[in-house]
Amino acid sequence: MDVYLPIAEVSVNAPLLLALGALVGFISGLFGIGGGFLMAPVLVFLGIPPAVAVASQANHVVASSTSSVLTYSKAGSVDYRMGGIMALGGAVGALFGVELFRLLRLLGQADLVVAVSYLLLLGSIGALTLKESLTTILARRRGEPARREPTRRPLWLYGLPFRVRFPRSGLYISAIPPLLLGVFAGILSAIMGVGGGFILVPAMVYILRMRAAVVVGTSLFQILITTAVTTVLQAGRNQTVDIVLSTLLMVGGVLGAQYGAKASARFRADEMRAALGLLILLVGLQMGLSLFLRPDDPFALAPGGAG
């Protein structure tokens, strides 16, 4: 059953998009990430213009993260204060990112920036996560006592002004690092169509050292706000949000996310991190590969010709 997308101006198979949404939603609920980094490459592969793919999936992420945040919120595992500060940064970052992306498209360099961002960010974070979790798993298998995580946080977290209490996260730190983290995630949201969970979760775990129980819920809350802002900006500035595409993705996505969130309880945390790390690494390498391979055709049509 094919459906014609009004903004993307292509005809796509509706059940395929529903399934894709469900799969990404499942992974999203399982790992507490937006899952956008997985979906953008697949949508582009299906023939949807990259700019429309990036903007529409941001809207899809709004739906799947709303559903997940509500689930986590009932369990009391969302730190709204922390999430709110990060979301504020996220909104600022999205504003900047949407303008940046618009400029890059006109310069014909959007592909390059997207490929480099995927390669560097996903590649390094995937590799780090994988290494860390494999070390933990191996230690556990050998029966070594679990290495006590150092509870000391970087000192600069305390040296900065504007300290705020975050009771749910068990923190009393400056508001500046979470704010900057949010700005960074907001820029990524606009350029890569991702919520930024893959970078927020490790940062919250390893830099802020938030209480583990609230990390995922808080990250999803910030993703929800950031992608909502990104969607409105992309629609308003670039007219690249395809509501039919995002609706198809989100219907599959919210269902998948619920099952994912339930399934996540069955796995060990370190094994999940290893799987996630591997997935992120592979997507990053795959996207970055285009930079090194000789293109089939030395020329390419740049989007935005009609604009």
């Binding site: 014609y4 006109l106 509501i243 930079l291 390419a300």
Partner: protein, 274 residues
Amino acid sequence: MMVPPGPPPMDPPALVAPAPEPPGPVVVTQTPTISAALTNSEIEVDSSYAGASLVLYGAVFNPGDDPVDVVLVVRGPERPVRLVRKVRVAGLWLNSRPVVFEGAPAFYVMASTRPLSEIAGFGVLRRMGVGLDHIQIDAPDEARTVNLYGVRDVVISRLGEDYLEWRRAVIRLKERDGLYRADPSGVRFVDPGLFRAEIVLPPEAPTGEYRTEVWLFQNGQAISVRRNTIQVRRVGVERWLHNFAFFQPWLYGLVSVLLAGFTGWAASRWFRRT
């Protein structure tokens, strides 16, 4: 058929002027004439649109013995094309600055009864813009840079030794996307004097006005033409959504987000109950 071959056809007037057909009774002249019509001249793009296919049929009145050829050309609305070239910098494949070709047709199909090279010469085809090699793509003669959407120094044209390569690339890439096509056997005579051709519009072809030209060739010259238009229009929900997204983009964005939030909320409610 019984008349000996008429005088050589007069070329330029028939070529330049649209040569309107006598509407009523067929006026017997020495020059062959052509007549053609489309099965459907309005294509409606709705949510189940998956491209369209329409048939052009027509008749050739040829009083002489010289063989004739029919060439069909369909041109879509003109859109600027932005093209980049991949260049290798320090081991990485990067995009050059985009070159803008203004006024390239967004869709172009040529169908004929025989390969074009057997029908007419290079100069004739080039003048008429018939055939993939002869598509008229406007590009200014000199390279000039302009400020476009606040971006400085966008190269509008780079006519030079590699201009032809860029031009060919436009056609090659559009051909790969199914938007440009040449079919040297796309026009078939189903009966002496009666021909048909099929025009396939892929879903990627943009909306707008498409112009068809059906040329009659004899002895290497175009001697008669019939022109039609095809309208590709959005209708129903498709039209409404598109207009909403482009004329009230901020409200559209807001509605998209609210819809997404509601979907997420509804899913979480539904899952809690079951």
